[in-house]
Symmetry: C2
């Protein structure tokens, strides 16, 4: 997910890739930079830089959390001290597990009921606002720089300013449509669409399905 | 929801409308029958009949439960004694409430955590299998006999035979696509898409939104 967002946003934004290893971040940044430059040519106005996680978080205006679900709580707990007021955190995390060939929503951490990943992150980083987004956009779409993304991105969050900024970032990826669906408490149900989509793919022979909200079309 | 399904299915199926009042059921059946005959003309192979709830449930092969959420538990509890082995129950119920202008998933009954309506009904009618379906199809689409329904119907259920039969019933409505998303425990997340869609409509100026699963399109 992170690599796809990086290449898409680098057309117009300065992207900082965070990693535990600065060297690995630098290598990934260089690989994605070449891909982006090759595709956007001299229309590319952004940049891609690799940093250690802490340095990336300090410098960023918007911090996109796309850790694997099982690593998210520990990673955010270790890094949250580097956040500062005025930043926005975006959670793309989908907490799920696989059982008997199908996928199910599964909260991060133990004994926490069915809390969303975005709420778990919000608890850790408050008062920095968290916006939940991008869960239903398949990484394979985003990573394929040629792919046209006629998709909807559902946004949940409690902070209107943060929601507006993330909506704008969604619009900065051609053809993606941001759709607000209410406060962060709804993030669970957005996150839970992803295991449904994966099950729909497995059980009905689809490939990398995503969703599109279909508006009412008045008919004759 | 029930009226739309009745008119759509009456093209090829015999529909029994159940109501507490046989007279009211009969009036509704007559109204919908006229609509269906006017639209399908002599291609209509099904029928529409109004009965008391108990008589409708006894005679039906597939029982579609589309009570308002707040009435569902009491109504199904009162009627379940009329079900018999070999029948299938379809739940279209969306348990939700409105608060501060937006919609939220809200379990049926009190103190039951966040159980889906379909699981609550399954508990009441076991061992008759329950299939969860149609929650994301706006009633306004279904009710408009002219509307072309290029939509997906997500199906959750534990009984493969019942799922196959309901899939076929979905296909019997032109252009609807049935997509299985796993066992009944996933119904909660299907049901919870409806309040997300309504919120998306309210917050983003859409009208009667529904969803379409978009398959992966390999690009150049």
């Amino acid at each position: 997910m992170g690599t796809g967002l990086t290449v898409r946003w680098a057309l117009s934004h300065d992207i900082l890739i965070g990693s535990r290893s600065r060297e690995r971040a630098g290598e990934m940044a260089e690989r994605l930079r070449r891909l982006a430059v090759g595709f956007y040519q001299n229309q590319m106005r952004g940049s891609i830089t690799g940093l250690e996680n802490a340095d990336a978080m300090k410098a960023a205006e918007v911090v996109v959390v796309c850790f694997p679900p099982e690593a998210t709580i520990e990673a955010v707990t270790g890094l949250r001290g580097h956040l500062r007021e005025g930043q926005i955190v975006v959670s793309t995390v989908v907490p799920m597990r696989r059982r008997d060939k199908l996928f199910y929503f599964k909260s991060l951490g133990a004994g926490e009921g069915e809390r969303s990943a975005a709420e778990a992150i919000q608890e850790l980083v408050k008062p920095i606002p968290v916006v939940s987004a991008f869960q239903t956009v398949p990484a394979a779409y985003l990573n394929n720089i040629d792919a046209v993304l006629n998709l909807d991105v559902l946004l949940a969050g409690n902070d209107e300013v943060a929601l507006s900024i993330v909506s704008r970032l969604v619009r900065d990826i051609a053809n993606l449509r941001p759709l607000k669906v209410g406060p962060l408490v709804n993030s669970k149900f957005v996150e839970a669409i992803t295991p449904l989509l994966l099950n729909a793919a497995i059980l009905n022979g689809l490939h990398d399905p995503s969703i599109r909200i279909v508006p009412w079309m008045p008919t004759p």
